[in-house]
């Protein structure tokens, strides 16, 4: 249950970014989360509401895109998607794979904001 500290980091990063857009209101925060990142989306959503309360992010939506684990299979010489986290094997040839290319991401991809029109 470290989702609250993760969400707090998200809020901090977004507020920092908002510095360049004075008065802007956040509508959406989009995350990319690898299947091996050890975070649970439900917990993120729950903590998000708590952590954004009273900030410029209040009322915004958290969109979580889960990325599957991708590994390089040396035998097939190509990147393959790991179908089960209980077995790190190439789904094509069955060889064990340890060279992971995707699945541990934990990042803010983008934010959608409503900007205040500049006064002329």
């Amino acid at each position: 249950m470290h989702e609250l500290s993760i969400v707090s980091s998200i809020v901090e990063s977004v507020i920092e970014t908002l510095g360049a857009y004075p008065g802007a209101k956040v509508k959406e925060v989009r995350l990319r989360v690898g299947a091996l990142a050890s975070v649970v989306e439900d917990s993120l959503q729950f903590c998000y509401e708590l952590a954004t309360d009273g900030t410029a992010l209040e009322g915004s939506k958290l969109v979580v895109k889960i990325l599957p684990v991708v590994a390089h299979c040396d035998a097939c010489d190509r990147n393959v998607e790991i179908e089960s986290l209980q077995s790190f094997r190439c789904p094509r040839c069955g060889q064990p794979v340890s060279d992971l290319r995707q699945g541990k991401e934990l990042e803010i991809e983008s934010i959608e904001i409503d900007e205040v029109e500049e006064k002329v």
Partner: protein, 222 residues
């Protein structure tokens, strides 16, 4: 009002990752091998570490330890009996160690004078896997009392490990521990990982483990 999409592409744990990268540089420059020990509560991290520190000291190596717990300095007291420098990190409710906590607790230690630094993480099989502490080797521990399928239940942690240690082998039989299944499961999650079967009580497997530590330390110096 205009709507705009701002691309961030920023790691959520960027601050921790940057601090950890800084620590890794410090550890490498000092020539100290740093290991992060992770497991459930009760696996026997502290007993395993006590034995490791004692045997390293007897062999003339210099080792120190940082030990993380929510509360109490009981583990630090236990480990300090080995004669090694030990510091307790109390997280006060946080379920894992972070790079900043490690950094703060290194003050006054001459890292260049150490061969090994062990960081015993908070007992937890989920959260510590997200937090880089600047270690060179992440060690996942599993005891014979926990069930052979633990690696399958907690793949994120076992997949991020560089070595696995099975503890309490002295009671494997009464626990009806299926060694082959445990080894197979660890390999399913982290193919090719080094696995050590140990007992802190009898000392079984400790020679192989200490040999591995020495190898890892040598490998770093090249």
């Amino acid at each position: 009002m205009t709507t705009r999409i701002v691309e961030l592409r920023r790691g959520i744990l960027k601050k921790n990752d940057e601090l950890a990268a800084g620590l890794r540089g410090r550890f490498e420059a000092a020539g100290v091998l740093v290991l992060n020990l992770v497991s459930s509560p009760g696996t026997g991290k502290t007993a395993f570490l006590e034995r490791t520190l004692r045997e390293l000291r007897a062999s003339g190596a210099k080792a120190a330890a940082l030990v993380g717990d929510l509360e109490t300095d009981n583990d630090a007291k236990r480990l300090a009996a080995s004669g090694a420098p030990v510091r307790q990190i109390n997280t006060h409710g946080i379920c894992h160690l972070e790079a900043e906590m490690v950094s703060k607790h290194l003050d006054g230690w001459d890292l260049a004078d150490l061969d090994y630094l062990f960081i015993e993480n908070v007992g937890n099989l989920v959260c510590p896997s997200s937090y880089d502490l600047g270690e060179k080797v992440r060690v996942a521990l599993l005891s014979v009392t926990e069930g052979e399928d633990k690696p399958l239940k907690y793949p994120t942690l076992f997949n991020s490990a560089d070595a696995a240690v099975i503890t309490k082998m002295d009671i494997a039989e009464p626990c009806e521990f299926n060694r082959a299944a445990a080894v197979k499961n660890i390999n399913e999650i982290r193919p090719g990982i080094r696995i050590f079967e140990t007992s802190a009580k009898t000392g079984a497997g400790m020679a192989e483990w200490l040999g591995y530590l020495a190898e890892e330390r040598e490998a770093r110096r090249v």
